[in-house]
C-alpha cells in the first residue's frame, strides 16, 4: 500500500519535471484556461458586487423614492417624441396637492456646465430641483443651508454644492456664502451638501450642484423645458399605492383614456435598482459565456498540445516502457501533466482575474466582491478540464508499443 503510494508520488515528480522542461510551451498551452478562469472570477465577482450594492443603493436613496419621467406623447394616433417634455410644474404641484400617499415632490432637471470660482473651474452636472429635494434624497446640507421656497418662486441665483465640487472650487473651505459663476451667471452658494459617495454605477454622486429648478430652467437651460419629477411616498409600503395614484392623476390631467399609452414613465427606486442590476447581470452573463467558451477552447488546446507532446515524445515513452514503465504509469504521467497544466492555468487565472476585478473596481467604479467560493469553483473546473481533455492523449500514449516507440525518429 505504502509502496504504491510512493510510486504514485514518483509519477507526479516525473510529470512535474516534464512541465518544467517546457516552460514556455506549458504557459501558452495553459493560456486558454488562464483566460477562462479569470473570466469566471471576474464575472462571479461582479455578480456578487452588484447583489451587494443593490441593497446598499436602496438603503442610501430611501426605499420610498419614485421617479416620474416624461415619455412619448400620442397625437392623433401617431406616437412621437416631441422636444417638449410631457410633464410640467403644474403636474408636480398637482401631485403634491392631490396624492395623499406622496410625502414630497420635486421637479428635477439636469444640465451640465463649466463652473468658475476665482481662478479655479470645474465641469459638473447641475440639478434644478425644488425645496423638497433634500427630503426625497435624504441628503442634508452640512455647511450653510438649502435654498428657500422664496428662492424657487423668484428664480434666485443661488446654489448648493456637492462635496466634490466644493472641495475642488474651494480647496481651503469657505464655500458657503461665496459667489461662483455657472455659464457666466453669478450664483451665491448657500450651502454644501454632506458627502454621499459613489453611486451603484460608479459615478461620484457628490460631483453635483443643486439649484432652484426655476433658475436652472430660465438662466441655464435657456428654454422652458421641464425635466422629470421625483417624489417620495409616505412610507415604503405606500410606494405602490402612491404610484397608482400618481398614474391616475397624470392620466386624468393629460387626458389619456383608460388603457391608452401613458405619456410618462414611472420607476420606483427598487425598479431602478433592479434594472441596473439586470444590466450588470447581462454583462456578467456575457463574461460567463466568454469564460465557458474560453475554458472549452483552453481544454481543446490542452488536448491538442498533449497529443503533440505524445507524438513528439514517442521515443521517450518507448524508453520509459523499455525500462519498466507500465501502461498506467504512462497514462498517469500524461494525465498528471494535463491536470497540472490546467491547474497552473487556473492558478494564474485566479490571480489574473482578481487583478482584472480590482482594475474594473478602480477604473469604472463597479462594485466587485471576489469570493473564496469562486476561486474554489474555478480550480475545480480547471482540474476537471485537465482530466477530461487530457485523458484521450494520455490513453493513446499508454497504448503505444514499446518496440515501435523506441524505433520512432
Amino acid at each position: 500500500m505504502r509502496n504504491s503510494f510512493v510510486r504514485l508520488g514518483n509519477i507526479t515528480v516525473v510529470g512535474l519535471k516534464s512541465i518544467a522542461r517546457n516552460k514556455m510551451r506549458s504557459l501558452l498551452t495553459a493560456l486558454g484556461i488562464v483566460i477562462g478562469v479569470a473570466c469566471v472570477i471576474v464575472s462571479v465577482a461582479i455578480g456578487a458586487g452588484v447583489a451587494q450594492s443593490v441593497s446598499e443603493m436602496i438603503n442610501s436613496l430611501g426605499s420610498n423614492y419614485i421617479m416620474i419621467m416624461p415619455g412619448t406623447s400620442t397625437q392623433s394616433g401617431a406616437r412621437m417624441f416631441t422636444g417638449q417634455s410631457t410633464l410640467s410644474e403644474d403636474d408636480a404641484e398637482a401631485i403634491r396637492r392631490e396624492v395623499p400617499a406622496v410625502a414630497y415632490v420635486s421637479p428635477n432637471l439636469r444640465t451640465a456646465a463649466q463652473v468658475v470660482a476665482g481662478e479655479l473651474n470645474w465641469s459638473t452636472s447641475i440639478q434644478g430641483v425644488g425645496i423638497d429635494w433634500p427630503n426625497i434624497r435624504s441628503w442634508n446640507v452640512e455647511d450653510g443651508s438649502f435654498f428657500t421656497e422664496g428662492d424657487v418662486r423668484s428664480g434666485s441665483k443661488v446654489a448648493v454644492l456637492g462635496k466634490t465640487v466644493a472641495d475642488s472650487l474651494f480647496p481651503n473651505g469657505g464655500a458657503a456664502g461665496s459667489i461662483i459663476r455657472i455659464k457666466n451667471v453669478p450664483f451665491r452658494v448657500t450651502g454644501v451638501l454632506e458627502k454621499k459617495g459613489g453611486s451603484m454605477m460608479g459615478s461620484d454622486q457628490d460631483d453635483v450642484i443643486v439649484a432652484p429648478y426655476t433658475t436652472v430652467m430660465k438662466r441655464l437651460m435657456g428654454q422652458n423645458r421641464f425635466g422629470m419629477i421625483i417624489a417620495s411616498a409616505v412610507s415604503a409600503e405606500e410606494v405602490p399605492n402612491a404610484m397608482d395614484q400618481i398614474d391616475a392623476l397624470l392620466r386624468q390631467r393629460h387626458r389619456i383614456p383608460q388603457g391608452g399609452d401613458a405619456d410618462f414613465m414611472m420607476r420606483s427606486q427598487e425598479e431602478i435598482a433592479q434594472a441596473n442590476a439586470q444590466q450588470v447581470g447581462l454583462m456578467r452573463n456575457l463574461l460567463l459565456g466568454i469564460a465557458i467558451v474560453s475554458l472549452f477552447v483552453g481544454g481543446i488546446g490542452i488536448m491538442n498540445i498533449m497529443l503533440v507532446s505524445v507524438t513528439e515524445r514517442t521515443r521517450e515513452i518507448g524508453i520509459r516502457m523499455a525500462i519498466g514503465a507500465r501502461g498506467r504509469h504512462v497514462l498517469l504521467q500524461f494525465l498528471f501533466e494535463a491536470v497540472t497544466l490546467s491547474v497552473l492555468g487556473g492558478l494564474l487565472g485566479v490571480l489574473f482575474g482578481i487583478g482584472v476585478a480590482k482594475l474594473i473596481e478602480k477604473a469604472i467604479k463597479w462594485p466587485i466582491v471576489v469570493s473564496p467560493e469562486a476561486i474554489v469553483v474555478a480550480f475545480v473546473v480547471a482540474a476537471t478540464i485537465g482530466i477530461f481533455f487530457g485523458f484521450y492523449p494520455a490513453r493513446k500514449a499508454s497504448k503505444l508499443d514499446p518496440i515501435d516507440a523506441l524505433r520512432y525518429e
Partner: protein, 252 residues
Amino acid sequence: MAKPVIEIRELVKVYHLGEVDVRALDGVDLTVDEGEFVAIMGPSGSGKSTLMNIIGCLDRPTSGAYVLDGADVSQLSRDERAIIRNAKIGFVFQSFNLLARTSSIENVELPLLYGDFAGSRADRHQAALDSLHRVGLQGREANHPSQLSGGQQQRVAIARALVTNPAIVLADEPTGNLDSRTSIEIMGIFQDLNDDGKTIVLITHEPDIARHAKRIVHVRDGKIQEDEHNQQDRIERPGAAGSQPAARVSAG
C-alpha cells in the same frame, strides 16, 4: 555448473505482413548461463533483432518457451512484461536513449521510479550515484545528455541499465554510434561488469565488437547457425590494476 539465466526452446516468431507470413524466428534453442558474455551476431534480416526483442521481453514469441531467471515469461501480458523488464533486464541501446534535458543522475534513477525500489529518495539517489561510479562517470551527475560525449552518454545508459541490479544486461549494438576508440572503452566496461559476474547479452553485426565476448552465437534466417566459444579479446584499461599511473609517479 552455473545456473541458466536464459533458457529458450523451440522459439518461433511469425509476423503477418498482409497475406504473407514471415517466420522471423524459426525454432531457436539457446541457453545462457549466469556470468556469460554472449554476442549474438547476424546480418540484418537474420532475426537477431526479433530475438533481442523477445529476450528483452519487449515482444512475445508466437510459440516456444522462454524462461528468464527461473520464470516463464513467454506468454506474459504487457504490464507483466514491463515489470519483468524493470526488474530483470538492463537495456543498453545503440542510440543511448537517454531522456533529453534530464540530468545523468535523473536518467539513472528513472528505472527505480517504476519498480519496487523500497528505499527513500536519498537511497534512490545513492543507488544512482553508485551506478554512475561503476561506469567511471564521477562528477557528471548534473550534466544533461547534450553536454556529454557519445561515450559518456553510453556510460550513463549502462549505469541506468545496472541500477536495478538486473539478471541480464541486454546491449543492442551499443557501439553502433561510437568511434572505434570509444567503442573499445565501452566494451572494456562490459568486460569489467562481466568480470564482476554480470551476465551480458550483446547484439551486434560487427565481428570486431563481437570478439570481445566470451561466446558468439550466429543467427541466420531465423535459426542459430553457429554457437562458438570465443577466445576473448581482453581490453587493456588504463584504470585497471596492473597499469596504475600512480605507480610511475611514486617511482619518479
